[in-house]
C-alpha cells in the first residue's frame, strides 16, 4: 500500500532529513515510526501525504508514484488519507462541527450527508456534545480528538498521524492511541510517529525506528 524505495530527502538548506530509506507498509497494517527528535519521522509521514517530495528515490501510495502525480490528483489522494497533525491545524474561527465538516465540503458532500458523517465522527471520538464549541474552548486532548475526527470523517483507508500524543498527559495519550487501535481493527492502515514508549508498549504494533534519517535495522 505504501512503498518507500531508496528515499532521500534533502531540504533547500542542505539538511538531509532522510537517507536512502526503504520501507513497505501493507494494507491494514499499523506501524509506529519512532526515533529521537530530528530523526526524520515527520518528514517520512509528509512524503506520504505529498506535503513534501523526495529528493531521490520513490514514494508509492496505492501503486501511484507521488512524484508523478498532477496537482489535482494529489488533492484527490489527500482526500483519501486521514491526516492528524502534531499541531492539530484546527480553524479557530470555525466551531467543532464546522472543523470536522471541512473535508466533506472539499469532497462536495451534501449538507444532509455531511451532518450525518460529522456527527458519527464526533461520536466516535467522544466530542458530539461539544459540536457547537470553538476549538479554543477545548482542552489539548479534546483538540487532538477533534483533529482525529476530521481525519476519519472521510472514512479514509489510511490514517497518518504525526506525534498524536506529543503534548498530552499519559491518560489522554492512552485514549488517543486506543482510538487509533480501534480504527486499525476495522481495517484502516495506521501510520503514526511517536516517541511515547509506554504508548508503544500498549499498541503492540510494528515498530520502525529512524536514526539520523536512516532506518535502524
Amino acid at each position: 500500500m505504501i512503498h518507500y524505495s531508496n528515499v532521500t530527502k534533502r531540504y533547500a538548506s542542505g539538511y538531509e532529513a532522510l537517507k536512502d530509506v526503504s520501507l513497505v507498509i501493507d494494507k491494514g497494517e499499523m506501524v509506529a515510526i519512532t526515533g529521537h527528535s530530528g530523526a526524520g519521522k515527520s518528514t517520512l509521514l509528509k512524503l506520504v501525504a505529498g506535503i513534501e517530495f523526495a529528493s531521490g528515490g520513490n514514494v508509492m501510495v496505492n501503486g501511484q508514484n507521488l512524484a508523478l502525480l498532477k496537482e489535482a490528483h494529489l488533492s484527490v489522494l489527500r482526500q483519501n488519507l486521514g491526516l492528524v497533525f502534531q499541531d492539530h491545524k484546527l480553524l479557530f474561527d470555525r466551531n467543532v462541527f464546522e472543523n470536522v465538516a471541512l473535508p466533506l465540503e472539499i469532497a462536495g458532500f451534501t449538507r444532509h450527508e455531511t451532518g450525518k458523517r460529522v456527527r458519527a465522527a464526533l461520536d466516535k471520538v467522544g466530542l458530539l456534545p461539544r459540536e457547537k464549541a470553538h476549538p479554543i474552548a477545548l482542552s489539548g486532548g479534546e483538540q487532538q480528538r477533534l483533529c482525529i475526527a476530521r481525519a476519519i470523517v472521510n472514512r479514509p483507508s489510511v490514517l497518518i498521524a504525526d506525534e498524536p500524543t506529543g503534548n498530552l498527559d499519559q491518560a489522554y495519550a492512552a485514549t488517543i492511541l486506543d482510538l487509533f487501535r480501534s480504527f486499525n481493527q476495522v481495517g484502516v492502515t495506521v501510520v503514526l510517529s511517536t516517541h511515547d514508549e509506554l504508548g508503544l508498549a500498549r499498541l503492540q504494533c510494528r515498530r520502525v525506528t529512524l536514526d539520523q534519517g536512516r532506518v535502524v535495522p
Binding site: 484527490v76 489527500r78 483519501n80 491526516l83 471541512l102 449538507r111
Partner: protein
C-alpha cells in the same frame, strides 16, 4: 454533477458569509467600485444625451438669407432668381414671411404674444444648400450675395452644430478611455480586497490544501466574492445613474420647455443596465482571479 453543484453552492454561500461578516469593509469596497463604474457611466449617459440632442439639430449645411422687411414679393422673386443662379447654390428654398410667422406660432407657442402684434415682424427668407461648404467658398458666396438689393442678413449657422457633433464623438472616445482606466481601478480595488482576505484566511487555505482541497476549491469563494462585489457595485452605479438622470432630467425638461423645445434626458436602458452589471461582475471576477493567482505562492509558501 451534484457534488460540483454542491461545491459551487458552498463557495457562493461562503462568499456571502464573508461579505456579511465584514459589512462595513465590504460596503466601502462596493461603494468605491460603484463610484469607479458610475464615473464613466455618468459621462457616457451625458454624452449619449448630447449626441441624441445634436442628432435632432439640423447639421446639414445651410446658408440663410434674410431680406429687408420692406421687400415685396416681386423683389423676393428677383432675389430668388439671383440666388439660384449662384455657382455654389445647390438648392434654394423660399420661406415667405407669412409661412415663417405661422411656423413660429406653432413651434414656440408664442401664439398669444404674436397675436398682440399688428404687423408681421418677420422678413422673407431663403435657405440655400451650398454645393461646397469649404470656408473660402462660403466666404466668397457671402461676398457675392451681400450686395444683392433687399438682402439684409446672411447667416451660416451650421458650424456650431457640426462642432457639437464632433465634440460628442471625441467625448465618446474619452469616455471609453476613462472607462478602461476606471475598469483597471475596479480590478485593483477588488484585487486588494481579495489579497487582504487571503492573508486573513491563510490558515484556512493551508489546512484545506493539506487535507485535499484543490486550488480550484480554494479559489472559488474568492472569485464569487469578487464577482459579487462587482455585481453589487454595478447595480448601485446603474441605480445612481438612473436617479441622477431623473433628477437632472426634470430640470432640463423644464428649461427646454421655456424655449418651446422638448428635450428628454435619457437614463440607462435595461440592456445598458444589464451590460453595466455584467461588466462589473466580470471586472470583479478578473480582479479576484488576478489577486488569488498573485498571492497564491505567498500563502502556499507558508504551508
Amino acid at each position: 454533477m451534484s457534488a460540483i453543484l454542491a461545491s459551487h453552492r458552498q463557495a457562493f454561500g461562503r462568499a456571502i458569509g464573508r461579505m456579511r461578516s465584514q459589512p462595513l469593509a465590504s460596503g466601502l469596497s462596493i461603494g468605491v467600485i460603484a463610484i469607479a463604474i458610475l464615473l464613466p457611466l455618468g459621462l457616457f449617459m451625458l454624452f449619449e444625451n448630447i449626441t441624441s440632442a445634436a442628432s435632432r439639430l439640423n447639421t446639414e449645411p445651410n446658408v440663410n438669407v434674410y431680406l429687408a422687411l420692406s421687400a415685396t414679393d416681386a423683389e423676393a422673386k428677383d432675389v430668388e432668381r439671383k440666388l439660384r443662379a449662384h455657382a455654389n447654390a445647390q438648392s434654394v428654398v423660399f420661406i415667405s414671411r407669412e409661412a415663417a410667422l405661422a411656423d413660429m406660432k406653432q413651434r414656440a407657442n408664442l401664439g398669444d404674444l404674436l397675436a398682440g402684434i399688428d404687423a408681421n415682424p418677420l422678413p422673407h427668407a431663403f435657405a440655400i444648400k451650398p454645393k461646397s461648404v469649404d470656408g473660402a467658398t462660403l466666404d466668397a458666396m457671402r461676398a457675392d450675395l451681400t450686395p444683392i438689393p433687399k438682402v439684409e442678413t446672411i447667416t451660416m449657422d451650421f458650424e456650431w452644430a457640426k462642432k457639437l457633433t464632433r465634440f460628442a464623438r471625441f467625448a465618446e472616445r474619452l469616455v471609453f478611455l476613462l472607462g478602461a482606466m476606471l475598469g483597471a481601478a475596479v480590478v485593483f480595488v477588488v484585487g486588494n480586497t481579495i489579497r487582504l482576505q487571503m492573508l486573513t484566511q491563510k490558515d484556512e487555505i493551508i489546512v484545506a490544501r493539506l487535507i485535499g482541497a484543490t486550488r480550484r476549491f480554494v479559489r472559488r469563494p474568492f472569485l464569487y466574492f469578487g464577482a459579487l462585489q462587482g455585481a453589487l457595485a454595478g447595480t448601485l452605479a446603474v441605480l445612481a445613474a438612473t436617479a441622477l438622470g431623473r433628477w437632472a432630467g426634470s430640470e432640463v425638461n423644464a428649461l427646454a420647455a421655456t424655449y418651446g423645445a422638448e428635450l428628454s434626458v435619457q437614463v440607462p436602458t435595461i440592456v445598458q443596465a444589464v451590460w453595466v452589471v455584467g461588466l462589473g461582475t466580470a471586472l470583479g471576477w478578473v480582479g479576484a482571479f488576478v489577486s488569488v493567482s498573485m498571492y497564491w505562492r505567498q500563502v502556499e509558501a507558508a504551508k
